[in-house]
């Protein structure tokens, strides 16, 4: 009984948030910019055509960097807007739990990003037309990208709950996301391994979105990587629930 109620509540909130994106310009602006940036980086920076290789490495490698800026923008309104408008007082006095509200919002934004990701399919078609890309690895990369997007998103929704200001939420989210990327960024790892003990280097790099994304991109969907993203998401959503439950007023 309780679980079906929960599902209905999560679904109701999810629907409202999801169509909320399409009701405003946010959705279209996001999708257009996302696709344009990805195309630009893939074709002009990674030189997709000049590489002479029909693999999507040069396409997926940009995902973390683009997510870092765009996903906090998708997430920033989720709680900050409710707090600013005062509607948080309604949603938290409805017969829904804090977790149902958080999951509804999170899943809506995640589904939305998923759609943006699906719309990059012409990349795959292009590569398949030009050559013979490893479709299994491509599929894994998409799954990895979606998981990573979820992790970015969980950071964004958490920072959104901290403040009434979307701008503040956006900036804090970018800083945290940058940390999660840089911890596995090869130049940082190299600088670190110059003096730090190996276990520390491993620890830092294993905290990074980048390390796990690269490992999935190789075409192996390792359970450890999936578990990593799932635990980041859970941890961030947990902080989110603590913040929401302990806020003093709206």
């Amino acid at each position: 009984m309780r679980t079906t109620d929960s599902m209905t509540n999560i679904l109701a909130i999810m629907k409202r948030e999801f169509f909320g994106y399409f009701g405003s310009a946010v959705a279209y602006v996001f999708i257009v910019i996302f696709l344009m940036l990805l195309g630009f980086f893939t074709f002009y920076i990674s030189n997709f055509f000049e590489m002479g290789q029909a693999d999507l490495q040069g396409f997926f490698q940009w995902h973390p960097w683009i997510f870092m800026f765009l996903i906090p923008a998708v997430a920033m309104r989720l709680w900050a807007e409710e707090r600013r408008m005062g509607t948080i007082e309604l949603i938290l006095t409805f017969p829904v739990t804090v977790w149902e509200a958080i999951l509804g919002k999170f899943l809506a934004a995640w589904a939305f990003i998923g759609i943006a990701l699906v719309l990059t399919f012409p990349m795959v078609i292009t590569a398949a037309y030009l050559g013979n890309p490893d479709l299994g690895a491509t599929f894994c990369s998409y799954v990895g990208s979606l998981l990573m997007a979820g992790a970015f998103l969980s950071v964004g929704i958490m920072t959104s709950s901290l403040t009434r200001s979307q701008v503040v939420s956006f900036i804090i989210a970018i800083v945290i996301c940058l940390f999660f990327i840089l911890a596995g960024f090869p130049p940082v790892i190299r600088a670190l391994s110059g003096w730090a003990p190996a276990w520390l280097v491993d620890l830092v790099s294993s905290l990074s979105f980048l390390t796990h994304f690269m490992s999935i991109q190789r075409g192996v969907l390792d359970l450890r990587d999936v578990f990593y993203y799932a635990s980041v998401i859970f941890f961030m959503l947990f902080i989110n629930s603590v913040v929401i439950q302990n806020r003093r007023t709206a």
Binding site: N9, G23, L90, T93, T97, T249
Partner: protein
């Protein structure tokens, strides 16, 4: 029944609500009165489960709002202060969302929304986006949200705030109409409103309950209660004052204003229930005064309010 037991809320060292207890039964409309920042909204937020109390409890129809939160919330309809609504949704979609959250299945939902739209005079704007609506309409949309599931308990934080007199009248009518089957708590700082709508009033100041009574009984606490005001069309004010002051049961009398020949006098009894009117009337006829108007004061709520909350 809503039962509030020694509810208290502290923000740091500041006590916003201090040991507030009361009960509201079905059929009652409880007016929650107090100056700004007296703790009205904080109390309502604790009753609806928006913020947890520092101590004490609120029990809604047998369910504690903290420990049995979901069943308790199901029974409540809540109109928060400033009537927050999602501005980028249409009125219909918004209410459909609220109905869905309140557990109405697809089949019942539209019917329920249409019904509520009609009840709140919103049918004409149902397709409009909420941010294109005026303040009065928004207030009604949020009100509609609160009653869409026909809750047993209604908690309304300043339900007529920002409405014009006609809209205020409509909202008050709606509230009164629903009151037979519901327990309603409404906060306001408009005293006329409380008098017009509420069956009982709680006055709260600095977080504490300072009065809990019917509006009529509260009025009797006014120093004006039982005083007789009269306008005389002629004669000497001074000699009249000395005559009425001699009447048995009269404590004092004073001239409020004079206008040409006419003057207005207020006569205070020495005890609120002393029947002085009869004696005054006979004094008037014995001395051939010509009264223009005469009435017995009921007492004034604003005076009572000021005295006990200041």
């Amino acid at each position: 029944m809503i039962e509030v037991k020694s509810l208290a809320k502290r923000f740091g060292t500041k006590t916003a609500v201090d040991d507030v207890s009361f009960k509201v039964e079905k059929g009652e409309i409880l007016g929650f009165l107090g100056p700004n920042a007296a703790g009205k909204s904080t109390t309502m937020r604790m009753i609806t489960g928006f913020i947890p109390p520092t101590s004490g409890a609120a029990v809604i129809g047998g369910h504690d709002i903290l420990t049995e939160s979901i069943p308790a919330r199901r029974k409540i309809g809540y109109l928060p202060e400033n009537a927050p609504v999602y501005p980028d949704m249409s009125v219909f979609d918004y209410l459909a969302f609220c109905a869905e959250i309140r557990g109405f299945g697809r089949a019942d939902r539209n019917r329920k929304v249409e019904e509520t739209l009609e009840k709140c005079f919103l049918t004409e704007v149902k397709g409009q986006t909420i941010n294109t609506l005026s303040k009065g309409f928004r207030q009604r949309v949020c009100f509609a949200q609160a009653i869409i599931h026909d809750p047993e308990y209604l908690i309304l934080d300043e339900p007529t705030d920002g409405l014009d007199p006609n809209q205020k009248h409509e909202v008050r009518l709606m509230i009164r109409e629903m009151s037979a089957r519901k327990a309603i708590i409404l906060s306001t700082h408009i005293l006329d409103e409380m008098e017009a709508v509420c069956t009982r009033a709680i006055i709260i100041a600095k977080g504490r309950i300072v009065a809990d009574d019917t509006p009529a009984a509260l009025k009797t606490k006014s120093s004006l209660h039982g005083a007789v005001s009269l306008t005389l069309l002629g004669g000497s004010p001074e000699s009249f004052i000395s005559k009425v002051s001699a009447i048995n049961g009269v404590a004092s009398a004073k001239i409020l204003e004079t206008e040409g020949e006419a003057f207005k006098v207020r006569i205070f009894p020495d005890a609120p229930d002393a029947a002085i009117l009869n004696n005054i009337l006979s004094t008037l006829s014995d001395n051939d005064y010509r009264p223009g108007a005469i009435f017995v004061e009921q007492g004034r709520l604003d005076e009572v309010f000021r005295r006990i909350t200041a």
